[in-house]
Structure formats: structure tokens, C-alpha cells
Amino acid sequence: MGSMWRKMTATALAFAVAGTFSVTAAAGEKGTIRVGSKDFTENEIVAELYALALEDAGYKVERIMDISSSVIHTAIINDEIDLYPEYTGTGLISILKMDPLTDAQEVYETVKEVYAKQFDLVWLAYAQANDGQGLFISRKASDEYGITTISQLQENASKLRFASQGEFDEREDGLPGLEKVYGPFEWASSKVYDNGLKYQVVESDEADVSPAYTTEGRLSETDKFILLEDDRHVWPPYNLAPVVRGDVYKENPEIGEILKKVNETLDTAAITALNAKVDVDKEEYEDVAEEYWESISE
């Protein structure tokens, strides 16, 4: 009951804000933009970066962070937020339920077109950063067998110990998908571990290879872990891009240019380093975002 009341107040407030905003916009001043984020580190950092960029450009920003990944799409459609960072692959596969594509540009064009038609949402220019499915290997095994790509991994699989999270072995975009393109992976051994333990397990030499998401902070420790290249492009791209409500974008088309300034600096390595500051060095995501924003806005 309490949360419902809060939601209603929030919506009422949002309407009020939207109201003032259109009035003030007419007078040449800039209104409030509600920036949302999903409930994990990377998305919060990027959302905070968007917020800082908008504030620097003179907008007031209301931050609505930490929205569950499964409901954030509903939140923007229901006019509870104005924009949030989304992944092109997530839009294509999870939201639109379309078949995976592997070309980054093609995925972006597809979601951009269908989102505009179906939801009146605008995909702004995307960042090079790709937070997709990946595999990493210990530095030691990589050096010993000369493995930097998944093709080389497949050739050497019989010498390597695999640490799975269980679901990777069954999921269509996990091992079964890989085997269709690269051929069978006959691991020396394959054991299931909790997802939170994978870096520990590889670091302590209990396993050599494990699945990961390509921007996870600990992958920045390249003296220990090597992210393998998906050289035959099995996995769809998950590029980061702001998704904005159509009406908000129409009234403030310059948002596109403002957020582009952030996005064009974000490649996979940059995002991984930012994630590492929060997840490995335990800094606050607001501080990490602010520091980064200052470094790129000069």
C-alpha cells in the first residue's frame, strides 16, 4: 500500500514536473529530466554520467537509480523516467523478442526502428562499449597454449579445466551456441561453481576457463585474466546507448549531442576500468562517474 502511494505521488509529481517543464521550456529555460538506471554497477555509472552531462548543459536532473532490470522498460513506457542506458542486444532479444543478430550496426538500426514505431522511444547514438557474453582464461594458460581467441580455445579444450555456472552449459547463447559454430568443446574437466566465485577459482588455479560478461571489473586485471575474442561472432553485441522518451527528445533534441559526448569516450576497456573502481576498489559509483566526467569534459 505504502509503495503504491509512493508510486502515485511520484507519478503525480512527474506530471507536475512535466507540466512546469513544458511551460519553462517555452520561456527558454531548461526543465527537469528524469534519468533512470538498472540495478547493477555499470548501468548506474553510465546513468550517472548521463546525468552529469545533462546538468552541465543546464538541465535539472532527477535521478531514479537502481530500478530492477526486468521492469525498467515498463517504467520508461509508463512515463516514470525519461531516459536510461540500455544495451542494444537486450533491446533486440529480451524486449523485442527478436532473433539474435551479430552485426552491431544492424542490431542498433533494428532496435531504433522498432522502438520508435512500437513504443515511441528513441535510441540515441551508441557507445563502442560492449557488455556481452564472453569467456576468459587465466593468463598462465593463455601464455602456455597461445590462446587469445575462442577458436584457439576450442582446439585446446581437452587440456583445459572449465568452471561453469551451470546455466552456461544449457543456455542457447552459452555452450550449445558456441559448439554449433566452433565445434565441440571437450574439456579436461567441467565443474559448476557459484557465479560470484569464478575469478577466485581461476585465480587460485582450480580452473582455467570460465564464462563472464565482457565488461566485468576484474577483467581489468589483465595480468591474471584474458578475455577471449569471439573471432567467429557467435554472440550478439550489447552496445550501450541512451533510450529516451519520444516526447522528451522532440522538445530537447540537443540531448542527443550532450550524451554523445559521454558515449563516444566509452569503449569496452573504459567501462571495464570504471566497473573495476566500484567492484574491485570499492569506490562509490557517484564518485567514479564524477571523476570520469571531469576527465572527459575538460
Binding site: 568452471a163 555456472q165 551451470g166 546455466e167 552449459d169 544449457e170 543456455r171 565443474k191 559448476v192 561453481y193 557459484d194 566465485l197 577466485q200 577459482v201 587460485s204 582450480e206 580452473a207
Partner: protein, 215 residues
């Protein structure tokens, strides 16, 4: 749903068999370790008042820590795999065995001990022929409840690469696949029931006098 389950079982028969074997191996090793420590500790506790408090409290405190936490806490010390899994499960299984053993020994009626001494039994004979057989029903009841707990909790071993049926259950959770959840949990349930059945057989063999009346 049933069809999904059957398909999975058909396609992964050898994997499932391997996981059942792993599951039972971890559970039984943990249970045997717990029986050794629990029975020895319980006997020691029944002999000395001070020892009793000390031993009981130690294991009760250990028992309060959730098994999952113990697993993760043990990783820096023991690494991953079987060893930490068996340790965590033993810690879980010791208290019921320990408590029941201690109570079992303490409740041996004093007059029986006196009669036994009266007919000239040595301390050792007293333990072997009087105390232990009289405490046995309670000890076995303790082992029985430990057994069920261990088999159910061995599921967690899959979190740290020790294998077992937890692999199927956690995969099912990750993929939101009910068929895997059903297969995993039903198999764990069947293992529990099966072991209980075998356990009652063992009890009949160990304590034939308990069942002779019925015949």
C-alpha cells in the same frame, strides 16, 4: 512439463547418474566423519560435566552458521571442491549425533551399571556390553536426522564445484527452467527416502531385540 523432464533425463542420463553418485559420495563421507566425531564427542561429554558444556556449546555455535556461509568461509583455507563441502556438511551433521549420543549414555539406568559391576564386568566390558547397546537407539535416531539433513544440504556443494544434484537445481534456477528444478529436487527427495529405507534395515540388523517382539 513431464515431457520436458523425460527429454532431459533421456538426453543426460550419464550426467545425472554421475551427479547422483557425487551427491551420495559427499553426503556419506560427511556423515561418517560426523558419526566418528559425534559419537566420540558425545561419549566424552557424557563422562565429564565440564566437557559436556564445552563440546556441546562448540558444535552448537558452529551449527548456527549457515552452511552456505561456512562453504564460502572455508574457501581461503581449503580451496574449492570436495574438502570444504564435506567439512561444512559434517559441521551440520555433528550436533544431532553428538546430543543424542550424550543423552543416550547419560540415561543408562544406574541400577543396570551396578548389576553389571556386580557380576564382575570390567570398565571396558561395561561400555561395550551395557552402556553402548543401551545408548544405541538414541545414537541411531541422531544419525537418522543427520542423514536427512546432510542429503538435503549437499545440494549446496554445487556452489563450490563439488558436484552433486545441486548442479541441476542451480542450473534450473539460473535458466528459470522448471523441468530441471523438478528433476533435481525429486532426485534429492528420492535419495533421502531411499537412504532412510536402507537405514532402517541397518537398524534392524544392529538392534534385532527391538523388533523380535513383533514377530
Amino acid at each position: 512439463m513431464l515431457q520436458d523432464c523425460l527429454n532431459y533425463i533421456q538426453g543426460n542420463g550419464s550426467d545425472i547418474a554421475l551427479r547422483i553418485a557425487d551427491h551420495m559420495k559427499i553426503s556419506l563421507i560427511a556423515l561418517f566423519a560426523a558419526i566418528l566425531i559425534g559419537v566420540a564427542g558425545g561419549y566424552a561429554a557424557s563422562v565429564s560435566r565440564r566437557g559436556e558444556k564445552w563440546i556441546m556449546n562448540l558444535f552448537q555455535i558452529l551449527r548456527v552458521i549457515p552452511s552456505l556461509a561456512i562453504l564460502v568461509l572455508l574457501i581461503p583455507v581449503m580451496g574449492v571442491g570436495m574438502k570444504p563441502a564435506v567439512t561444512a556438511l559434517s559441521i551440520l551433521a555433528i550436533p544431532p549425533i553428538l546430543t543424542n549420543t550424550c543423552v543416550g549414555f547419560m540415561e543408562v539406568p544406574p541400577f543396570m551399571l551396578e548389576s553389571a559391576k556386580g557380576i564382575g564386568m570390567t570398565e571396558w566390558e561395561l561400555l561395550l556390553h551395557v552402556r553402548f547397546p543401551l545408548a544405541l537407539p538414541l545414537i541411531l535416531a541422531g544419525i537418522r536426522s543427520a542423514l536427512v539433513e546432510v542429503i538435503a544440504s549437499a545440494t549446496l556443494a554445487a556452489k563450490i564445484g563439488a558436484g552433486g544434484l545441486g548442479e541441476i537445481i542451480f542450473t534450473g534456477l539460473g535458466l528459470n527452467r522448471t523441468d530441471l528444478l523438478l528433476i533435481g529436487s525429486i532426485l534429492v527427495g528420492m535419495l533421502s527416502l531411499g537412504s532412510l529405507g536402507i537405514f532402517s534395515l541397518i537398524r534392524r540388523i544392529l538392534m534385532p531385540y527391538k523388533y523380535r517382539r513383533a514377530v
